[in-house]
Assembly symmetry: C4
Amino acid sequence: MHDNQPKKNWRAKLHEIIYEADTPAGKLFDVILLIAIIASIVFVMLESIKEFDKDYHYFLVFAEWVITIIFSIEYILRIISVKKPFKYIFSFYGIIDLLSTIPMYLSLIFAGTQVLIALRALRLLRVFRILKLARYVGASNLLANSLKASRAKIFVFLFAVLIVSVIFGTVMYFIEGEPSGFTSIPVSVYWCIVTLTTVGFGDIAPITPLGQFIAALIMILGYGIIAVPTGIVSAEYMSQTKGRVPQAPLHTEVDMNTEVCPNCSAQRHKDKAKFCYNCGHLLNPHS
Amino acid sequence: MHDNQPKKNWRAKLHEIIYEADTPAGKLFDVILLIAIIASIVFVMLESIKEFDKDYHYFLVFAEWVITIIFSIEYILRIISVKKPFKYIFSFYGIIDLLSTIPMYLSLIFAGTQVLIALRALRLLRVFRILKLARYVGASNLLANSLKASRAKIFVFLFAVLIVSVIFGTVMYFIEGEPSGFTSIPVSVYWCIVTLTTVGFGDIAPITPLGQFIAALIMILGYGIIAVPTGIVSAEYMSQTKGRVPQAPLHTEVDMNTEVCPNCSAQRHKDKAKFCYNCGHLLNPHS
Amino acid sequence: MHDNQPKKNWRAKLHEIIYEADTPAGKLFDVILLIAIIASIVFVMLESIKEFDKDYHYFLVFAEWVITIIFSIEYILRIISVKKPFKYIFSFYGIIDLLSTIPMYLSLIFAGTQVLIALRALRLLRVFRILKLARYVGASNLLANSLKASRAKIFVFLFAVLIVSVIFGTVMYFIEGEPSGFTSIPVSVYWCIVTLTTVGFGDIAPITPLGQFIAALIMILGYGIIAVPTGIVSAEYMSQTKGRVPQAPLHTEVDMNTEVCPNCSAQRHKDKAKFCYNCGHLLNPHS
Amino acid sequence: MHDNQPKKNWRAKLHEIIYEADTPAGKLFDVILLIAIIASIVFVMLESIKEFDKDYHYFLVFAEWVITIIFSIEYILRIISVKKPFKYIFSFYGIIDLLSTIPMYLSLIFAGTQVLIALRALRLLRVFRILKLARYVGASNLLANSLKASRAKIFVFLFAVLIVSVIFGTVMYFIEGEPSGFTSIPVSVYWCIVTLTTVGFGDIAPITPLGQFIAALIMILGYGIIAVPTGIVSAEYMSQTKGRVPQAPLHTEVDMNTEVCPNCSAQRHKDKAKFCYNCGHLLNPHS
């Protein structure tokens, strides 16, 4: 690219590395971040295993601090590399990024409580950030569109499932009662959802003949209506595929890049775009 | 709208508010009713939780009376706002509406028994009334049509499931017998439905090698035949969508409103209709 | 119909009543038989319930004898109304019909044993006879054709399921072993089928971390591959529907009747057929 | 076939018998091998049943030796019948074939340990060899292609399932905790997968109202998203079928035979091919 930008300042370079994935440095940053996120999830999990935590407590605390410091540096870099830092700070990911770092700092002040571990689990939400990398953007777009198109129908369907559960749950409460574990109507409704969705834990199960008869009805109903969302998604997906392929195959995958506007943080710019479609700010041209 | 109706009598206004959802007053009425219905369901549920009922018994009784009085007023208003009240009273919703109000009045005469709580649970059926609001009428029509079109096939399918369950249930009774919980043929058939629909409670489970072998057969059969209703609904749904889209996209959603004829209670009038398509009576024009 | 048959002999009339369902008498016969079959199934079920059998033992024995005599008479009538009785006697339904009657006669000779009850359960298979009535013949044909067309693919699929179950079952046996209930490889394979088909009884469940990890893999695999038979049946069903509708809508339902050749017992004759398509014998013309 | 090959050397004949299935001798070899493989699987299974192993230990050891010797001979014959034996030895099947034979020889040196039985279970993988026979090659190709085409989408779907499981699993750990069996986050994630896939063992089940509420959400989610892979496979399968049928119906099944090049072991030659499409070596013409 023979663009007429003589030199790039450090903030633009930083922005490119952190927010985009098309350059080698950007890819490296994303991969390191991905490893840090997965490691942080694994450490939260390991800490919850009593036997493991007892033996490796100090290692886990050390690892937690390493990850907290990595996330803290990343958070600060993200703030200083965008022109409108407050927009980032109060965005969904900005809040998640902050919440990812503070639990360990708070644990210095307060004694490490359960609540802080729970807060640390919020780091899981950072996983969504990785989805941006999405080598499979085309595939996931298609899925997302199918689901979006069938949203209204799935809502109707879930509403019907809920009404059926409430009615049959109430009926089962009066038929079975406490001896079988149907201790209250909410519990019965819960059981009914467990049965209708064919999960069937078996911690609560009908024991009276009439209860078993109605349970059989619920099961067959659940077995039958599972066909409805499948049919919906199947049809929508098929019409999505049909409309897409002949006109411009895979164009959603071709047109977009991972650039993020350094001014307004807008995403999904066209591949050759020089200016942000949202605020008109100059985008970072790739070297 | 510059319609030539000089003045509207109170009954027509009342009818518009209660039976329709296109005017602000009608919408407000529906929303209040919706809240009252959901509240009544929640109270029935809460009352069934022993610990909650013990602590908040008087609050629940009071709330029950408030809802009973709201439903009673609504019931009376519905009767006086239609021209043919007996048609409403003996309709499905008329009976449900009546049954929603009487349990509390009966509890004044008789001591509050379980049966009265059960009767109160009938209020759940009022939920269906809300479906009328159906912002998603088009979507639910499509679903209903798909299911209606595939009714005969689903009947054949369910009949096949039933025969398979009866035969395998009887077989399992003779193989497993009482030690595993297969205490009688009806219980075995119940277990077979539980297994075939992939619910699998586990309260009854085969323990003999032969029983486990046949159980595995039943499971694989159930796993395979779940494809049948899905295929049916999927295909019917797709043909429904195909027939509809090219001719007049989404016309079922556009054309209808929620007006109800004040004379004959017919529903689903066209959006600009001035007269009932069923009896020719003047409809309430919207302001 | 102005057919030139002067009079019909009693055997032809009997054949028409017993084997066909197009005449009023034939329909009546089928309905009575249907009731008798369902009653016999219900009685076998009730007899298996200990408490019920204790109280109503003599009633059940009496009812069994009534049904046995009805089935015996039907069996004899079927034999004398066809021209080639041996063909009927050694056909699938002939054997089932005979087996439906003999248990009670045998119980006169031997003491009533479990085995005889099991034999009586064979009457269930008579239910298939009723399917002939099939008001929904068109629908069930379509289903049967879809399944037949996708037979080879479903076979491949089930074979894959079996191989996966055997391999993962063996793996789980070595990982979990006896403490978790994986007492032998066949039991592990059984558990694997229970899990893969998403039935999940829970009588056997992994307790080691590695076992739970592999179990999670099996579940996700099972959850994913359930899509395969559904997709197959769905596609076959759709192609069946497509091929059928435009050419001659519902012709399979129009063309056939329930006549059965009195000579060779061939079924599925065309509606106006005068001679058997199989042996050339004159069919019973309907009055 | 009037081919001009005067005589066939023993190695070519051996190659034809072992690697192909179009000649009577080749078919016989495959059938014997199939029986030996299934027998070896059955013996591994039977040996894992304690009661059976106690009574028939010596028979099982004898049978194991017979199968080991059959497999050893087969392995040697396979090596000497191909021109490039090392290519076979280090191929996937070559290694599996070797691993199928060595456990018994090792048991002569070391005492028979669990690990050796586990190794013997690797023979199961030999089952895949039989798939080559594949009378249903066309059907399985179609399935494999559908799955391959929807690979990226299924990957996205499984990734979404995993993220949902990790997030909800962590949430459930903090809500339910140890009393209900949610002893650590990995166990909670395991439970979440069990629930989301509608397996529902019931060994771990929520007991708090909030936990049951979230469990109900997970179930309905799982019930809904099962539609996604089904829709994907269904649509892909349908497009595979559409593309295939009109152009050249079933040509994949017609064109191929089971010949394997004696020089380079390439498979899937055309039915009338005289030379290997891969290395140009002369193929064994069928008598």
